[in-house]
Every structure is written in structure tokens, then in C-alpha cells.
Symmetry: C2
Subunit: 662 residues, 2 copies
């Protein structure tokens, strides 16, 4: 706000956004919506900070980033340097997970300014005796803050600046411009009149928040067509996923399922007596969100599954779906947590004219908000207590924004390593808001981006706009709700293509089981729902003897783990090709071989194209030949210069994943 | 800042940038640096306000701008409407000068949401008895806030919604969806849970802040070569400027000039006994910033000049140059307001290795800051007391940012109609900061933008970026310091070209006297300084019998006054041409004939080009012919469609200023 000024502000008071005194510090980056929301980072990663820093007059400036980790009481500092147009940049590396703070401090560089002006005058042959005396006084003004050793050195410099001499070149000027004196004075700046920006916050998370391969499966399908799978049965699926190189398995809700208004196979309004119902209709006589479906087993079985996952080096992600079946214990214990209609009934979920009588939404604004919100958070805490550190949150956009911020903040205060994935497929700004409110990762529009132009446009938005600071995409190639037409129509090559795109474009990606078996039959034409959707029935699977993508997926996940460039998002760079069907992009990481991915987006036919590499981005010399080694087929080509030919037949390999050089 | 949340925030508390409860209001426009600075507007102009407004869930929203003028205690409201991607827009029209406030308030549209859902269910043939009862209850919940008449009407609607009926179509549904009911309910929204953004401020100024033609002249040149001109002599120059249609005359400093280190003709280090010195070396035995140079006359003469200006409908702008000659009374009365060197001398101005011994800069950080700042502000107040409402501020970037904000705020609190023009030619962000701190208008890079691409680029920055909200350009075609090479080399056609560009691109523009006489001789090759610069000597001028631009300027100023589109800045639109030498742009204003300007930027040779009009912008039909009437030559052409041929000979007319249509 523009201040209501009545008196003169102190010349160097800090008042952010800052422009009292002579200094302006503005447009600090990262900064989300004027600091209302936290930017995100990963422990051990570099955080780049920029700011417009300027002052009136001709004096030089110096600036630092100040930063502080969780629980730290002292600020650390990192230098900032001017780039162009009064923009300053620097970086720091948060070492631990949790909330970090950072700000920018800038001050007038009195010694640097004096040194610059002295040098100009000396070069012009002007008399500088008074200037040298000013310099000596400047040096002496810093003695108080100096060590004994520095003090001795400083006094010696001041003496040199005051020496009587007629020699030319003037030894006093030579001393004044000596780099050692500059280093000494830079180490002892006068920051009494410095300006400090407001403090911004940063959520620092563990590496899995940025990088991971996810596999979704329904534990109940780990049995047979007629025998409900159990958590014990799921151990083999867990090993199967771990063997493919996945880092996370995501399980749809494992809680008791309501019977009232239970949906039948293929979402039929009436369920048959053997129908298992949707796991998202949570709650029955057997319990609610803190209970395990009796057909899946017990909480002890769950603990065993978690222990097995730990042994395998894979993590279990649970679903957090805040809604109840009409049989949920809350319906009788806490009817006030639901919405009521004039006839006294509880309001079921609707998207008029669609009705979801099997699901009661929660009223987040209930007068017993504290009770409700505490209970909801205690669900997350309960499963954290059972070893779960990752939650996939169902439809968060239909629940209270304020609740999410409160809940995630609260959980993170005790467990900063917990990851929340927002399953919101809705309007862009709603999805962005959920990420700003604290969700670690977000589902995306990826499945609906299939043409080159729209893939490039979407990834440019994710990597080159402010979203890069707070929105971490998780590229699922399919989900139980989304079987895209491209997969329905494109056959096995389409599955390979989408897998390569998901896993190479985004450091975090996932598939829902069945993908590796090329499952591609929709419930009806024009629908993205699966036929015989696993949401409503058991779907045991076996890859044995069937065409499948298991080796390909295993290779892909291996390539991802071995090449650090693929664990990052914003290092993505698109390269031009002369065909709409051929997309090319690279990822680079300092000190690592660049990865170049070239994909034929046409699953039906071979395509050839010339790829125009941006050699600067890849660190390549235009005249030297270089090797490109295909990490899928283990073949090597020698390329030279920017323009190189590719031909990709989807029936063989629709994509090259090249390691460049070496 | 991300809040440190310990307890649940109330579901609908306002906390800006706002996202407690269900609502998010973000990215309000105009908003400068997160509200740190005020946007600018003109009394009577429309202020467009935009915001991202969204909430969780599927409910509909409504939103308003709330705004309040200076001294008003009640907020007014203007509606906002959604455009696309959760962006909402609306506008209000501040009626008076002074500081205005505005914010955005949004709330859930419970009736609209209910109506939408009812309609969908009714269309699908669903039973809606309960919904109608809910609607009736909703209507009844508003009775308290209603007038007797509205109440009667509301009760009647509720009764209709509850009527027993078997008729089809259902008369209850028809009533529920009736527009009259919608209007009634929209007029009585439930805003108890609304969310309001932070309040932003807006500096609202008079029309002259946006629109005006300026003429700069040195009063002391209104005499003869040997006789120092006086303020009395300046009456004729005032009439001359008024006759040409100028709105403002800007006078360089009119105060006593120091003799110590006075500069001679052409900036010679030593002045001769008759040399008049630079008016910017302010202060002598005869007085300082509140005094009139004795050779110019008396304060009474100045009052007479102001009175004459008022009669002529022209305004006088004074120069406010905060610096002193060594002879300024402050040097002895307030030595503590200056910077001192180790030998006790006062520090003169420098830009090493250049020295300006005739000028002492002020130390804005003096311990007697209150005394100094008050005295400086009192200078402005003094001249306001003598009828001056416009100040051109000399080199504000070399003075304290904090001072300017304090001073301009302080002056505007009593005199919101005072205009400050910042004469800063420096780095972009420093110039932007001065405008943000409160300067009404700013000098610009216009003189150094001569090619088509750079003119288009610069004007796009001024009109299409955030700068449009706070930075008002004043396009001087020349100044006593800037005689651009283009004018030096291009002869009279260059002067016409630059005049047309300045006056047509920017609603505020100016020339420094001599421009109309094509004065174009630099002090030396490669310099932008005038030979025999008026800064250091008397330069009486007469246009009589000499080639001059007076009729052309008069016509231009007349065209500007008669065509409201030319009094605005952001209505500028560039049209493509197929020649680099030909630039084309238009300005449009609702209900007014569009103005189209086509200029040959080559002062040496005729050029022809095809102009590709953006017909949509001009409101033209591609198939209908239309007239373009040249307001300079009073000739009319008939054009048709987007592509039209022009040929411009700089020896005749280098520019068309077309009024389109009619």
C-alpha cells in the first residue's frame, strides 16, 4: 500500500516493498502472488533468487540474499551480482526439508564508489589529495568491526594513502586501487543504512517431491477374477512394480466400502450382490477412513505391506478422499458435518443433472469446523503413523481451499517429508491455486496434450512461467478415469510414445496398471472411461505370455535413474524439427551428458525429419562430430552440426532416447 | 506472506492477498509492485479493474469493485463480470482529483447457483420439489434486508415456488427461472461471507496530466541580443505560444544566478563579465529559489505573467532544480545541508572526471533533514501560492527517492491538481521508479527513437505494459540539452516528422523554442548540445521573414484539440506497412472518428508503401469504401479494404494525419 505519510521516513528505514531512503528492492523472484504463497524447492537443490535493486544517484550498490532454515536463528548470506537492467541475481542451497525464509538486503557501496571515482579522476590526471584523505578516513571508519589482524592491515593501507610523495605514477593511488584493499573493505562493509526486503518463505521438500516413477494398482485385484485380492496378495504386485523400477505405488482407497446405493459394474445404478463397489465410496459398518477393508485384511497386514515396500525401496501412496458413503460412521456420529435438505435428508453429491447418491460430500463450513477439520487431519496423521509419507488427494478442488492450506501446513510442521499429490482436473487457475496452497505435486493436462504444438506450449508454461516455482507436474499416462482416445486408437506404439513423453518430459510420472498390457477398450465410443472399469470390479492381471511393455518400462525407469538430467523439470529445452509428427527435446545437467529425446508422435506410420539442435544448449561445437547413443536400443550414431536426420518407425521404436557425447 | 497458522481461519475472513474461506482474489489490476505504489488515473476517465477471482467447488460467484473518492466515507460499487480463465473485469469513473481507493469484493452467488442447478435438473425431467422448497427458503432468507415493496414481491415468489400443482410444464419451475425473480434476488445478495481484497490506491489527476502541448522558452531571451529580456517582455512570447495552440509554457529557472565559477558561452570554464550564466546555477546575493532574477523583474512581474497566462488559457510551468550555486544564501545560512570534504570545503557536483564547480548538490541525508525537506517543499508551496500548478523537476534521479515521495505526497494532499514532470534521462527502472513515487509525467527516450522498429517497440512498452498504469510520457522533440543527430542532419522535413510523431504518438508533447526555426547546429560534430546554447547566453528569436514551422505547429495543435482520440495514450495501435521508412498508427475513441497517421521517416527522399490497416481496430468493413481526410492538407481520398497505397514526399508533406470516415 502507498503509505499515508505525515512525517519524513528515516532515510534508510526498511519498509517493504522497499523504497524508503535511497534504495528500491522490488520484484524478488521467486515470489508467488506478492508473497501470499510459498515457492517450493528441494533440499540440496540450488534456489536462484533475483531482484530489481536500484538507488537514486550514481553510487554503487552491494546486495546479498539472506536465508534461514527451519529452527535456525541466524541468517546465512549469499552474494548477489548485477546482471542487466538493474536486475541482481544470486543463489543459495537449502540443506534440509521444512520451511525456509529468505530476503534481500542491499546497501550503498561507499568504498567501491569512492574507488571508482578516484580511478576516473586519476586516469584524467586530476589532483586527488583530498580524495585520498577521504579514502583513508573511509578505511579508518571500519576499524571498529575488524579483527586485530585486519585492523593492522587497514591502518597500514590508510597510512599508504596519506604518504607524502611526488613520485609518478602516484604510489598512493596505486595503493588505493589495490585489489587486496578492495577485498579487505568488501569484507567490512558499512551496512548501517542498508535496506532489507520483506521476508519470503520457501517450502523445501525431499527429492521424491521432484523425481519419481509412480505405479497405480488396486490391491483388491491382486487375487483372481472371483477372489477378492488382499494386502498380503499385494506383496507380489509391489515386487512387480519395484522390479520395473518404480519408486512409488499408489493404492486407491483401502477402506470399507458402503453398500447403500453401491454402483455395479460399469457404473450401473444398481449393484449385484457380488459387486465390490467403488473404493471411493468410503465407509461402512466396518469403519471409515482409518480402517482397512476387511476383504483386504487388517491394519497389521497394511503394516506388513509398508515394511515390504521399505525393503524393496519403494514407497506406498494412499488415497485421501474426503467424502463418505451413506454408511460411513460419521453419518450417524456427526450428521452436523454434512449438508442437510429441507426434508431432513443428507445432501448427496451432484453435478446436475448427474446424481451420486452413493457419496455424501462434507460441509467444511459446519459450525463444528474445529472438530471436523481436526478429525480429517487425524486421518492423515493416522496413516503417517503407519508409515505412509505420500498421499494422493481425491478431487481437492471440490473441497475447501482454506482447509487444504490449514491441513498441509499443519502436517508439514511435524512431517515436512510428507508429499501431497492434488488430483484436480479442472480450470487452470484452480489447479494453480491448489499448488500454491501447499500441494506438493499436481495431476496435469498431460493426457490431453498429444500434438507437438500443444505439448511444447504446455511444457513451456510449466517450465518457463511462474508455475515453475510452485507447481510440480506428475504426468500420469493413464488413470482409472482417463483412457485417452490416442491410446484407444494408437495401439502398442501409442503406449510407448506416451510413456516416453511422460517419463522424459516430467521428472515425476506415472502409469495405472493395465497400461503395460496395452489395455485400450473404452466403455463406449467417445468415452475416456475403461470398459469393465476397475473402479467397480476386480481386474486381476498377469503379463505372462502376453505382449507387454514391462521390459520397455524397466529400461525407461533405469535410464531415468542413471541420468540426473532426467530428474529435473526446468532444464527442458525443445529443439526444432521440420515435421509436425516429430518432437525433439533435451535435458541437461551440469557435468552430465545431455539427454536428447526424439519422438515420432504418429503411432501409425514411420516418419522422418531433420532435427535442428540448439548446439549452445547442448554444449556442442558446430564443427566437431559427436556421438549420440540410443539408451533404448544401445546403438550409437555419429552426428555433426545442428541439422541431423532421424527416421522413426513406431512398429520398431517410436523414440530415440540419446545420451550425447562421451 | 504465507501465514503462520495455528488455528483454523474463519471460513470467510478477509486476508489479502486473499484466500481464506473458499475464495481467492488475486492479481488485481491496476496494482503496482504489490500495491506499494499508486496507479494513476484522470478525473472523468474510466478506470478498468481486473482480478483473478475463483473459489473451490462448483458454485457461482459475483463480484464488485468498491471505490471511494477523497473525503468520501462510503464506498461506491461497480459490477465486475467474468471474461475468460477466471478473470473478472469491471470499471469505475473517478470524478474528482485526489487519492482514490479501490478494492474487489466477491461472494458466492447462492441464488444463481441454485437457479442454474434447478434449471439443469428440470431440463433433465427430474423431480425438483425439494429444490423448489430450498429456493423458497432462500428467497425468504433475504426478507430482512428488503423494502416493503420488495418484501411483498419476494413473498409472492416464494408462494409460487411452493404452490401445489400437477401442471406441465411446471409453473413453479417457470416462476423459479423468471428473470424478475433473478433481478430481485441479485439486488439482495447475501454477502455475509464475502471476501474483500486489500485496498489499493489510485492518484487521480486533472486532464492536463494526460493531455497537453508544451512550449519551452527562456524568458531572458525575450529581449534583444544585448538586452536581457524580462518577465514583462515575456508576455509577447506567451501570446506567441498561446497563438500556436500550446497549453503549457515551461520556463527554465527564473531565480538569481550565481557568479562563482559561472560558466561562459558554450559552457566555457570562465565567464566573461557580460555572460549571463546558466539559470540552473541557482542562488546569488539577490536570493535563492523563492526569488526572481532581478534582470527578469520582480515577483509582481511574475504574478502579472501568470495573470496574462490565465487570460490566454495557457499555464506556466516552473523549473524545480534542487541545487545551489556557491552564492546561494543557504550556503552560508545552512552549510549543514551540503556535503563537506576533509578540508572543510563544500563538495561541488561531479560526474568524474567531469567537475561542476558552479553547482553544489544538496545532502538529503543531513541530520537536519526535517528542516531541509520542509524548506524544499516550501519552495513549491511558494510558487503554488503565486499561481503555478506545473513543475518540471530537474534531474530528480540524482536526488533522494524518499524525498520525492514525501514531497509530492505532501503537496498533493493540499493541491491535488499540481503536476510534476520528471526530467530524468537515465536507466529504465530508475525512470520507472520516479514515476511510481509520484511524478505525474516523465521525460522519455523519445528523441533517441527514430527508426520504425524502435518507435514501435518503445511505444508498445509505454502503452501495453504495466507502465501504462503509472508512467505518463511527455514527448519533447528537442530540449536545450538534446539536439538529436536526426534533426541536425535531416533539415526542415526532419523537424516536421519529429513534430508529427511527438504530437500524434503521445497526448503530451513539447518543443523547446528554436525548433520552429529549424535550429540544428550542434556545438561540435557528434554532440547533442546546441551551438551557442541558450543555457549560457541570450538567444532572442523572431520568426518574421524566416522559414518556420509556426503554421504547421498551429495546425497540429488544432487537430489535437479537435480530435479526442489524440488526447489518449493507450488507444494507440500500429498498422503494418511494407516499408521500413513508412510508419502507420491510429488512435481511436468511442463515438469519434478514428485518426490514422502515416509518416515517412526518411527526411531526404520520398517513399511509397502499402499500408495494411487493421480494419477491426478502426471499425471498418472490409468491403465498404471509406474516406480518409488529411487534416494537414484538407484533401480527401477514398480507400477500400485493408491494403492502401501511400506516397509521401518529405519536401511536400512527410506525413498524413487522416480522419477516417464521415
Amino acid at each position: 500500500m502507498a503509505k499515508d505519510q505525515g512525517t519524513i521516513p528515516p532515510a534508510a528505514a526498511s519498509n517493504q516493498p522497499s523504497t524508503t531512503g535511497h534504495m528500491v528492492i522490488q520484484r524478488i523472484s521467486p515470489q508467488i502472488d506478492c508473497g501470499r504463497y510459498r515457492a517450493k524447492a528441494i533440499a540440496g537443490d540450488r534456489v536462484d533468487v533475483g531482484a530489481d535493486i536500484l538507488r537514486d544517484g550514481p553510487d554503487l550498490l552491494r546486495a546479498v540474499i539472506r536465508y534461514r532454515g527451519p529452527g535456525e536463528t541466524k541468517w546465512s548470506e549469499a552474494p548477489m551480482d548485477p546482471t542487466e537492467n538493474d536486475r541482481w541475481e544470486g543463489w543459495f542451497r537449502p540443506s534440509t526439508v521444512g520451511p525456509w525464509r529468505y530476503c534481500v538486503e542491499a546497501w550503498t557501496d561507499d568504498f567501491g564508489t569512492w574507488r571508482r571515482d578516484l580511478s576516473r579522476k586519476a586516469v584524467a590526471g586530476q589532483k586527488v589529495d583530498l580524495e585520498l584523505e577521504e579514502g583513508a578516513l573511509l578505511i579508518e571508519s571500519r576499524l571498529d568491526g575488524m579483527s586485530a589482524e585486519a585492523k593492522t592491515s587497514a591502518i597500514a593501507w590508510a597510512t599508504k594513502l596519506r604518504a607524502k610523495t611526488r613520485k609518478r605514477p602516484d604510489p598512493r593511488v596505486i595503493a588505493a586501487l589495490d585489489d587486496d584493499l578492495l577485498v579487505l573493505m568488501n569484507a567490512h562493509p558499512d551496512r548501517t543504512g542498508s535496506t532489507t526486503s520483506d521476508v519470503l518463505e520457501l517450502t523445501v521438500e525431499r527429492e521424491r517431491a521432484r523425481f519419481g516413477a509412480w505405479y497405480e494398482f488396486f490391491p483388491r485385484s491382486s487375487g483372481t477374477k472371483t477372489k477378492h485380492g488382499t494386502l498380503k496378495d499385494s506383496h507380489k504386485t509391489l515386487r512387480y512394480a519395484a522390479d520395473m523400477g518404480f519408486d512409488v505405488v499408489y493404492l486407491p482407497p483401502i477402506h470399507p466400502i458402503g453398500t447403500a446405493f453401491r454402483k455395479g459394474k460399469n457404473n450401473k445404478l444398481k449393484a449385484g450382490p457380488k459387486d465390490v463397489g467403488s473404493p471411493w465410496a468410503i465407509g461402512a459398518a466396518e469403519g471409515g477412513h482409518k480402517d482397512v477393508h476387511p476383504d483386504l485384511g487388517t491394519i497389521e497386514d497394511f503394516d506388513e505391506l509398508v515394511a515390504e515396500a521399505e525393503r524393496l525401496g519403494i514407497e506406498i501412496c494412499l488415497d485421501f478422499a474426503i467424502q463418505c458413503s451413506p454408511d460411513h460412521p460419521w453419518v450417524t456420529d456427526h450428521p452436523e458435518w454434512f449438508n442437510h435438505r429441507p426434508d431432513g435428508t443428507i445432501k448427496y453429491a451432484e453435478n446436475p443433472p448427474k446424481k451420486y447418491q452413493d457419496i455424501y460430500p462434507i460441509n467444511f463450513d459446519t459450525p463444528d469446523r474445529q472438530g471436523l477439520w481436526d478429525e480429517l487431519k487425524s486421518i492423515v496423521d493416522f496413516w503417517i503413523g503407519h508409515g505412509v509419507k505420500i498421499f494422493r488427494v481425491d478431487n481437492p478442488h471440490t473441497k475447501s481451499f482454506a482447509f487444504w492450506e490449514w491441513m498441509i501446513d499443519g502436517v508439514h510442521r511435524e512431517h515436512p517429508d510428507v508429499i501431497f499429490l492434488a488430483e484436480a482436473f479442472t480450470r487452470p487457475k484452480v489447479m494453480q491455486t491448489l499448488a500454491k496452497l501447499g500441494f506438493t505435486q499436481s495431476y496435469t493436462y498431460f493426457t490431453w496434450r498429444n500434438y507437438k504444438w500443444e505439448i511444447e506450449e504446455y511444457l513451456t508454461e510449466l517450465t518457463r512461467t511462474e508455475m515453475a516455482h510452485y507447481f510440480r507436474p506428475n504426468f500420469f499416462a493413464n488413470t482409472p478415469d482417463i483412457l485417452h482416445e490416442y491410446l484407444q486408437a494408437g495401439g502398442p506404439p501409442a503406449f510407448k510414445i506416451r510413456l516416453v513423453l511422460a517419463s522424459m518430459l516430467s521428472p515425476t510420472y506415472g502409469i495405472y496398471s493395465g497400461f503395460e498390457l496395452f489395455e485400450n477398450v473404452p466403455v463406449k465410443e467417445g468415452s475416456e472411461e475403461y470398459l469393465n472399469s476397475e473402479k467397480f470390479e476386480l481386474r486381476p492381471r498377469s503379463v505372462k505370455g502376453k505382449p507387454n511393455l514391462v521390459p520397455y518400462i524397466t529400461r525407461i525407469n533405469d535410464v531415468r535413474k542413471k541420468h540426473p538430467a532426467l530428474s529435473e523439470l526446468t532444464n527442458l529445452h525443445f529443439h526444432q524439427t521440420d515435421k509436425d509428427a516429430i518432437i525433439a527435446f533435451s535435458k541437461t545437467s551440469p557435468g552430465e551428458a545431455p539427454i536428447l529425446v526424439v519422438v515420432n508422435l504418429n503411432p501409425w506410420h514411420w516418419e522422418e525429419a531433420t532435427v535442428e539442435l540448439d548446439l549452445d544448449v547442448l554444449g556442442l561445437d558446430p564443427s566437431d562430430p559427436f556421438e549420440v547413443h540410443d539408451l533404448i536400443t544401445d546403438t550409437t550414431f555419429v552426428w555433426r552440426g545442428a541439422w541431423n536426420y532421424v527416421r522413426l518407425d513406431p512398429q520398431e521404436e517410436p523414440a530415440h532416447i540419446f545420451r550425447i557425447g562421451r
